[in-house]
Amino acid sequence: MRSWSKGDIFTKLSLVIFGLGSVVRGQIIKGLAFFAVEALFFYYMLVSGAGYISKLGTLGTKQQGWVFDEAIGINVLQQGENSMLILLFGVLAIFMVVFFIFFAVKSVQASYKAEQLRKEGKKPPSVIDEIKALFDSNLHKSLLILPGLGVFAFTILPLMFMILMAFTNFDQNHQPPGNLFTWVGFENFKNIFWANPVWARTFVNIFIWTIIWAVFATFTNYFLGMLLALYINGKKIRLKKLWRTIFVMTIAVPQFVSLRLMGILLNDEGAVNVLLRTLGIIANNDSVQFLSSGTLARITVILVNVWVGIPYTMLITSGILMNIPADLYESAYIDGANRFQTFRKITLPYMLFVTTPYLITQFIANINNFNVIFLLNQGGPRSLNYYQGGETDLLVTWLYRLTVDFQDYNLASTIGIIIFIICGGLSLIFYNRSKSVREEEVFS
């Protein structure tokens, strides 16, 4: 804005007529490009943008159905408005306005810059110079534009859309195009926390289980995987590579194969129960309900996750373990430490020091661990106490089911925002703590 107040009349006018300042100072193509952006924007606004923005407040008022037409004197079918499209294109139009303002600022700045150069008696850069700069001093712009557009279209725009949905009543009873939905403020948040007892009960239970799951899944995998890596790294173990490859093979198999398979093996009629019957451990018509009774299913998913996850930790930690300076151990043995003591005093602190960031990302990833829960057992067994949820459901799998199977988009978006707050908050806390640790002391 400093450029605008300091610039001459052409620079000031560049805010209204994009590129004017540039054209006046000889950067004709650049100026025309600015102007083209402005023209396109107004065309877009006239054709669609402005209409959508004006409807954003209500998300549409005309519902599809029969309406009495006074002119003809009969009922006619009224084409309803689609709240969802209004919301989607309304968000898009708002982004377009933001871009427009950005270009307005750029237009003034470009004009002011050229003006300064003229004053100093220099020639403003030509189009060719500017294009050359895109490969040199402005390389970051050319490199970021395409990925940036991709992130905008496939992450930012949809995310905004979904966040806004948490403040509407877009559920299975308000499905466009037949029905309209509208803004309800914080109604959904109220409902999920206390106002709607079934939702609140489901949410609280699933939330508690999500945290329990994340803690167990992260730490069982971490410590057991590390123990396995330590064991294989041991001096007297032969064929180290073979052992590692065996374990790595299980992570190489796509999870939708290995986990679906595990789900079938652990079914009430699955191979594991058949094996137990054959061995005579359980009666012939009996079965262990690995996945069909609530508590047992929760234990089973944690155990199956150990099966899936240990190889990962092993793979990642074995390299780091080999980096621990050997003289640390030697001096410890000379001082009479046993293996458990060296693990506790040397290995563990070193590993924790190095892998804290990994541990944090793992914890967050486990909160959002869709695959293990959904592919193994679809969050089941279903619980009648829950709203569309199951005993092993995490918040994310619940979210998935609510959107894909039940179209309760408002509830799903609310859950999404809550997950975001949890993950964001946790990583902020962890990250700040580990950073302070890192800055204050260096592992020695």
């Binding site: 989607l88 390389l139 990925p147 995310l159 099966w307 997950i419 975001f420 990583s427």
Partner: protein, 284 residues
């Protein structure tokens, strides 16, 4: 005496490896089970006996010949095409973003990196429904091209690992080249990228493998469009209640055919994988 000592040592060695052997069994049995079932002659997911009563290759051949309900070869081709296209786009995006944030300095750099950090904390598929509607609005829903865009469109956000690598390439090299009059883009394409083969390989392999193993995105995008399914969604459909009896053994055969190439790729790239995940951490 000596024989006794040797025997003792052998027994000790055996005992030492025994736990690993037992664990390997636990880890390998499900995979072996998968292969075994893929050769089973009888239908059905659940049997009252452990080992197949008859052996056959038919599960494999029927995957490719009986394509009426489940078109396995078509899915395989779909997945391959999607994987190839999205691999090219993602790799370019990731490298471009990673290089920019690692080597170039500009005003909006830190704010942009923070925005990416925050965006990454939303559950990935929360926006899937919206993406589906965006695609529908531009008339691309349920197509393979839309799947490519979904896999690669936001790829720029996962730049961390490559950035970590670029950070380790000594900066003195590019400064020297810049002094000699090279442009920044020449520095990137001719000096830094040729030195970054490990991270490029890693990025290519991971982005190529993603469509083969992803289930969620493909299932949301494709819904009921059977002919555009990828392997993961297709195989998953085979196990739905109404199909599982008829198709379980074929599912196993299909899974084996997909697991083999993915396993080979994964084992080939595991050293890059480890480096990628821990690279930043080890340096502190």
């Amino acid at each position: 005496m000596k024989i006794f000592k040797n025997m003792l040592r052998a027994i000790q060695g055996f005992l030492r490896h025994l736990p690993l052997g037992l664990l390997s069994v636990i880890w390998l049995v499900p995979l072996a089970w998968l292969v075994m079932t893929s050769f089973r002659a009888e239908n059905g997911a659940y049997t009252t006996y452990l080992f197949p009563r008859g052996w056959t290759m038919a599960n494999y051949t029927r995957l490719f010949t009986e394509t009426g309900l489940f078109n396995y070869p078509r899915w395989y081709a779909n997945t391959f095409i999607v994987a190839l296209c999205s691999c090219i786009i993602s790799t370019l995006f990731v490298l471009m973003v990673a290089y920019t944030f690692s080597r170039l300095r500009f005003k909006s750099r830190t704010p942009m990196m923070n925005v990416v950090l925050v965006l990454g904390m939303f559950p990935g598929f929360m926006s899937m429904i919206a993406v589906y509607h965006v695609l529908k609005a531009i008339g691309m829903e349920q197509s393979l091209a839309s799947l490519v865009l979904v896999y690669s469109g936001g790829a720029g956000m996962s730049y961390y690992i490559s950035k970590g690598f670029f950070d380790t390439v000594p900066r003195s090299m590019d400064e020297a080249a810049l002094l000699d009059g090279a442009t920044r883009s020449q520095v990137m394409w001719k000096i830094v990228l040729p030195m970054s083969k490990p991270t490029i390989t890693y990025t290519i392999l991971t982005s190529f493998m993603a469509p083969w193993v992803d289930f969620i995105f493909a299932s949301v995008i494709m819904k009921d469009r059977y002919e555009n399914y990828t392997i993961a969604v297709g195989l998953y459909r085979m196990l739905e209640r109404e199909n599982i009896y008829e198709f379980y053994t074929r599912f196993c055969a299909g899974a084996v055919l997909i697991a083999i190439p993915i396993t080979i790729l994964f084992i080939a790239m595991q050293k890059y994988y480890v480096g990628g995940v821990t690279g930043g951490a080890v340096k502190g």
